[in-house]
Symmetry: C2
Subunit: 192 residues, 2 copies
Amino acid sequence: MGRWEPNSRGRLAKAAVELFAAQGFEQTTGAQIAARAGMHERSFFRLFPDKREVFFYAVETAQREAIEAIADAPEGVAPIDAVAAALEQRCEIIQQHPEAALTRHNLVSANAELAERDLSKHAELADGMAEALGERGTPEPVAKLIAHTAVVVFRVSFDRWIADPKRQNLSAMFRDGLSELASVLGSRGRSA
Amino acid sequence: MGRWEPNSRGRLAKAAVELFAAQGFEQTTGAQIAARAGMHERSFFRLFPDKREVFFYAVETAQREAIEAIADAPEGVAPIDAVAAALEQRCEIIQQHPEAALTRHNLVSANAELAERDLSKHAELADGMAEALGERGTPEPVAKLIAHTAVVVFRVSFDRWIADPKRQNLSAMFRDGLSELASVLGSRGRSA
């Protein structure tokens, strides 16, 4: 079973996050995740190297989508606008599933291992976007500056959104963050 | 021995980086590091939880110095200028020891575990600076935006500097990076 069913990785990832949320990350085994997804344990470890990786399947998907969005942006679009649009798209997906985002956030906050991997997955997301900009002709250091900064703004906005009990417009918070940062950087060197 | 000598952690960190560079990270044991620093293995594990932590002793020191620099900045200095000055100070220290920086860079590039810890140590550096800004009255989300963005610019500038065989002025590269980012963010939304 499982072998011919589509989206095995997605099903495992969904089962994993449900189990992590219900019984904790440490307490959950690969065998339990596989069983919940209706698959063999062997299949689990064939599709994911470890428990941490299955948790970040969603970030991987987001990375692919963001890279695609940058590649598909019309020719005249500036690098910063292409990256901002790609991350706004991600904001909108998160906004549609606030419960899932909160579950993931709580798991990451409670586990140092997950928090560390979360950081490196977001750095990979930024590197992937920087490469996609590179393919559109943006020189590497600028592409990295733009992509990694946009991810910083995304993460700060996400924390702000999670802290807001109403979880209002994440996209708007992200855009406000970019504007705020632009104004801060623009005023550099003007203080006493 | 060791017990009453000052700066045991610093001596262990120096011995560790020398051994990592000479024989590789994986091949080096806590006992070897302790022996090279003229200390007992027990002392090593009392002072550092693991091999990864001893490698990042220098980043910890940098974090303390950066936080101090922000706390000591005159009252009228804007948050972005306080953070930029703190990281420029770090740029200057690195510039004085380019060989040490290159050794560390090569070790981090060659080891996924170290690369992951390097990311989280730099995130801690940013969080520490954001807290120091908070104590000066900067609201949290803006403080985080500024500190994490400045660390992004610092890291991108460092990579640029490492890639330059002459390893010219890192401070200047960092300042240029901030200006470049300011101009990119300032032009947001003006493309097709």
